[in-house]
Symmetry: C2
């Protein structure tokens, strides 16, 4: 890491001293990802020097690594001569190119497209039409396909010629005369087989592909399950359109897991704007929904106002009981979601519920006894200890059950169990906890006082 | 999907009717992942037939896809003749082989190793020594390396011979006479360069590698950032030991994101045992910690017992205020964590805090006004409405601030902000919410009654 920073410093000095040749040499020696990091540290003036010293094709490889920041790149493009910008875009993989052009202002977009080869411009326009987060929006059209009636030798020659433009050569796709995907071979197959073997004989016809309108989450699951380096994208007629590579899918998986966490809190992760008004607009709906769900609990408590008036100390423990039960329910939820993610079904779901029931009883008892002891020691009140201890046990048992059942039901209804379960479980567990607490209190107080 | 099930049914029939040749042909036509799914559906008797009809090498490819269930495979091995089991393990990639042998009982392990070639057994024993979740435990030794003084042509010949044993041929690693890693070339480089070019001239010497004791999370970050298909693993002397491939890293990323979620709820994700006692032992510590933190809130409430006795309806809204403030704090937390994950620093952290302050004031005001209106309508009590509304505004403002500051502080202290922040924020926000609520109530009641 320190080493990289030292190289970056050296590069900056070369840049500012206008040692253009040395700079170019050392810069191109870096891995593309490090080139991207270096470029990100530069000032506007330093960047203008880079555009002077590097060919657009060379910088294109750097920019391919900045593919998660299309808005930033769109700003960089503004600093360049349009012809340089167009050439640079042209040198990038076209999935990244389309992402960036999607972030460029409309007037600028037309200008850039006018500087491109008509055929490239048309291809990019086509990619820009796909909806975000679909296979079409993720794919690149830079793949290698061969005709079904070629031999290994001539396929290899084709790979030699097209390799530098292809995003991966791990798979070579086999198409018929209508450009329909009918098979796949790996570069390994090409290397180990003799030149005169026909592709048809060695290709795998059981090829897994995705449709251009398929959602990225589904595609991520397939790449993960099948351990692919890339997956082909086809249209409704099975015509080969492009490929999605595993590096883009890793970004999708990362993004989705961050999104799940944000959505749990009702925050729209794509709208991480720095504008407080927008933040308010994005957060208020979930917050107010939860507020109104919380009002149900408040209404239930107000039904027990007469018990509270007689025995005011009960109020002290409401939050403790609802909070602890909520925590227990969240634990059950976490376990249930993981089990469901592992695709367990049938018997196993029943076993999961049974286990949670037993776990809930055990945890409820232990926690109830603990809080009983604490209250006996703190408040010196046996009846209060019994009420809170018993209520805690019951509330935890119910919360565990709710935390297990709700995600199972959500999944059966086809909803995402991670995101939808949280609010329901906290609200339901709050209400049942309060009901259990005040009913136990009413019974005990009637018997003891 | 339906199509696959139909094929599975057909395969089962072939199996039970002892059409061994047809079964073998159709089974091997499936993608390895689907072979694994099919195999997972079989009964013990059906599996015994599979061991009869398939060579161990053929089934090895299937078992390589079941790499996330080493315990299950260890059970399958028990069903096979030891010589078949040893041959099957030998046919698997050795990272998976080591995982499975790690799950096998000790007596069985020695028996299996005794059936292997001594050199293979020694290699697996070596892999078994690595600690879980390190590069050494994840890596496979089935990579291709070439000497630095070879030509493209002879390297290509070596690839042809070794390809079927290598887990990937995307990269060919270049080593010196002491087996130290000094460069890397891609299979693309081999294909496009003429046969007589020396590897030394075209290799990339700026090769990114990881040490065998490095943690899997770090490795995942590098593979993601550099968009690698595989990363080489070296020892402390830079000797080449193995490679880690991107498919294993996707599993790591998946696992880590599931873990984060579970750890948020204090559930140990690795101990997803079906034994309720173990579940209790794993969940109770966090739950009891949270219970005692919750007791602090209860003690704070009990300090205001006199206010509660005079104005019992206040008890109705404690949970609502702490709950809503907690939700608002969680939203800020989610935003802060995402921003921190994007590595923002300096100015930007200050801006994040400022934005959250403004957002907190706005959301607090809006929510306060909403709850004021609800209480006015429901309880017909202007003073209660003012108390709850004002307390809600203040509590949300503080919770937002806490939800932003705690993860920033956690990160500065080198702790994982996702996992450690949750409990602190809910406890802190509960206490401040209660203090704000009852202090406002005390002031208002002193003035109005």
């Amino acid at each position: 890491m320190d080493n990289t920073q030292a190289i970056f410093e050296k590069l900056k000095i070369e840049l500012l001293k206008h040692h253009s040749k040395k700079f170019k040499e050392d810069f191109l020696d870096l891995h593309n990802y490090d080139q991207g990091r270096f470029f990100g540290e530069l000032t506007r003036e330093e960047r203008l020097l880079v555009y002077k010293y590097l060919d657009p094709d060379e910088l294109a490889d750097t920019f391919d690594e900045l593919d998660d920041e299309p808005d930033l790149i769109a700003e960089y493009l503004d600093e360049m001569a349009p012809s340089y910008a167009a050439a640079l875009l042209n040198g990038m993989y076209d999935d990244n190119e389309a992402d960036i052009l999607g972030a460029v202002r409309n007037d600028k977009l037309h200008k850039l497209l006018s500087y491109m080869q008509p055929v490239d411009a048309a291809r990019v326009r086509q990619l820009l039409k796909y909806e975000e987060k679909t296979a079409g929006a993720l794919m690149t059209t830079e793949f290698i396909s061969v005709a079904v009636d070629t031999t290994v030798g001539s396929a290899m020659n084709q790979v030699k010629q097209e390799a530098q433009y292809a995003e991966t050569i791990s798979y070579i796709y086999v198409v018929n005369e209508s450009n329909q995907l009918i098979g796949v071979i790996s570069v390994k197959d090409l290397i180990v087989n003799p030149d005169d073997v026909f592709i048809k004989r060695i290709m795998n016809t059981n090829v897994v592909s995705v449709r251009d309108d398929e959602d990225q989450t589904e595609i991520a699951a397939q790449i993960r399950d099948y351990n692919f380096i890339a997956i082909p994208v086809v249209d409704e007629r099975n015509k080969m359109l492009g490929i999605i590579t595993v590096d883009d899918i890793i970004d999708v998986i990362d993004e989705e897991s961050a999104q799940d966490y944000s959505r749990l809190a009702g925050v729209n992760s794509e709208d991480m704007s720095e504008n407080p008004w927008k933040a308010v607009r994005s957060r208020i709906p979930w917050l107010v929904t939860m507020l109104f769900l919380g009002l149900i609990s408040a209404m239930v408590i107000s039904q027990f106002q007469n018990v509270l008036d007689k025995f005011g100390v009960l109020a002290v423990f409401i939050t403790l009981i609802t909070g602890t039960a909520g925590n227990a329910g969240t634990q059950s939820l976490a376990v249930a979601i993981r089990r469901l993610a592992n695709d367990e079904e049938g018997d196993s779901v029943f076993k999961l519920i049974l286990n949670e029931v037993i776990t809930g009883i055990l945890i409820g008892l232990l926690t109830g006894i603990a809080i009983f002891a604490v209250i006996l020691f703190w408040q010196k009140n046996m009846v209060l200890g019994i009420i809170v201890g018993a209520a805690m046990s019951g509330a935890i048992f119910v919360a565990n059950l709710v935390g297990t059942l709700i995600p199972i039901i959500m999944e059966k209804l086809g909803m995402d169990p991670v995101v939808a379960s949280g609010p329901f479980i906290s609200t339901l567990s709050d209400i049942t906890s309060i009901l259990i607490y005040f009913n136990i209190a009413t019974i005990c107080l009637a018997n003891f006082y």
